[in-house]
């Protein structure tokens, strides 16, 4: 490498260190105009540097995973809320005058902006003294009564169990189950 080359590269590095474009520099242009070998080398450097920002950062890949997990958790929260609402309305509609109040708690999570619920299936069972109800609700609107054991009883206490919530989440980047 000649002294001329060293000066040339020092100039190129100084420009790149300042986040400039060496091909905007008259001195660099004059040099590469005379030296196609330098020009090819410079083009290879610039070509690689231009494509480097497109290389995924590992922490961004992890962050994307965390975002998906958060979206899933938010959707699950919303579904839990829907299940709780359905449960309360069913209890209110069917329950005779009782002294007890079913205790239903549901965590409310903010809806995920990057995802939406495509389908859900909720399995619910209610047990109270002398009575047990179980049914499945689906997003299609279908409700299947799994079992019903009726017995005249005064409900004094209610317990609701929401079965495993099956979700399918559609994100901007594709679908996952």
């Amino acid at each position: 490498m000649s002294m001329g080359d060293e000066r040339f590269w020092a100039r190129v590095h100084a420009i790149l260190d300042e986040r400039g474009d060496p091909l905007d520099d008259p001195e660099v242009l004059a040099q590469v105009g005379e030296r196609p070998d330098l020009l090819e080398e410079l083009a290879a450097v610039l070509g690689t540097l231009r494509r480097i920002p497109a290389i995924a950062r590992p922490d961004r890949v992890h962050a994307a995973g965390r975002r998906r997990a958060r979206a899933l958790a938010a959707v699950a929260g919303v579904l839990l809320l829907v299940a709780a609402g359905a449960l309360v309305s069913r209890l209110a509609g069917e329950r005779p005058k009782t002294s007890g109040t079913p205790q239903v708690e549901a965590a409310v999570a903010p809806a995920a902006p990057a995802g939406r619920v495509l389908a859900y299936r909720i399995e619910v069972s209610i047990e109270s003294p002398g009575r047990r109800l179980a049914w499945v609700s689906e997003s299609s609107g279908r409700t299947i009564t799994v079992s019903e054991e009726s017995a005249p009883a005064v409900v004094t206490e209610g317990l609701a169990c929401v079965g495993p919530i099956r979700t399918r989440v559609e994100t901007l980047s594709g679908r996952m189950r």
Binding site: W9, V12, H13, L16, D17, L23, L29, V32, G33, P36, D37, L39, E40, E41, L42, A43, A44, V45, L46, G47, T48, L49, R50, R51, I52, P53, A54, I55, R57
Partner: protein, 170 residues
């Protein structure tokens, strides 16, 4: 060799430069390289009588390609920019095909860990030299040395570099 025959031979050699010119222009112009290669070849054929047989065809064609690239850049700079164009560019950085990705991986593979990390910190993550120096607890001058060495290594032509055909001394 007769004049017509030598002209045909030159045309054949000019066309043989396509893979190398494509790699060269792809480095400079990315996705627009194919159009520029076409223009370069057209210019080369048009002005082939100006080529001196004693000279290097590689050098001659490279200079033409670079001139074509500079003209293209000047035209692009003069062209009115559509509203929102800049934002779209920022929002969607250049995407890479598998070949590009392999090429970049191959070039980065020749760097030491330190060189690669510093290069990516500066050119991918946008960190300043001072910031990298602080994080790595080393003088800024040392960071620069690693960075400059890494860049130079990226420019060196490896034996497996794709599209590296049509070499000619000169």
């Amino acid at each position: 060799m007769g004049s017509t025959e030598s002209q045909r031979e030159l045309e054949r050699r000019i066309l043989g430069e396509v893979p190398r010119l494509r790699a060269f222009l792809r480095n400079l112009a990315g996705e627009e390289a194919d159009d520029l290669v076409q223009e370069t070849i057209a210019r080369g054929l048009r002005y082939r009588s100006a080529f001196r047989p004693a000279g290097s065809l590689v050098g001659w064609m490279t200079r033409i390609a670079f001139r074509v690239f500079l003209d293209h850049r000047a035209r692009a700079a003069r062209a009115p920019e559509a509203l929102g164009e800049r934002e779209r560019e920022i929002a969607a950085p250049e995407t890479m095909g598998l070949d590009d990705r392999e090429e970049i991986d191959r070039r980065l593979a020749v760097l030491s860990d330190m060189e690669r990390e510093i290069l990516l910190a500066f050119h991918r993550d946008g960190r300043s030299i001072a910031e990298i120096a602080q994080r790595r607890r080393m003088p800024a001058g040392t960071v620069k040395s690693h960075l400059h060495r890494a860049r130079r290594k990226l420019g060196r032509r490896g034996p497996t570099q794709r599209d590296a055909g049509g070499t000619e001394a000169g």
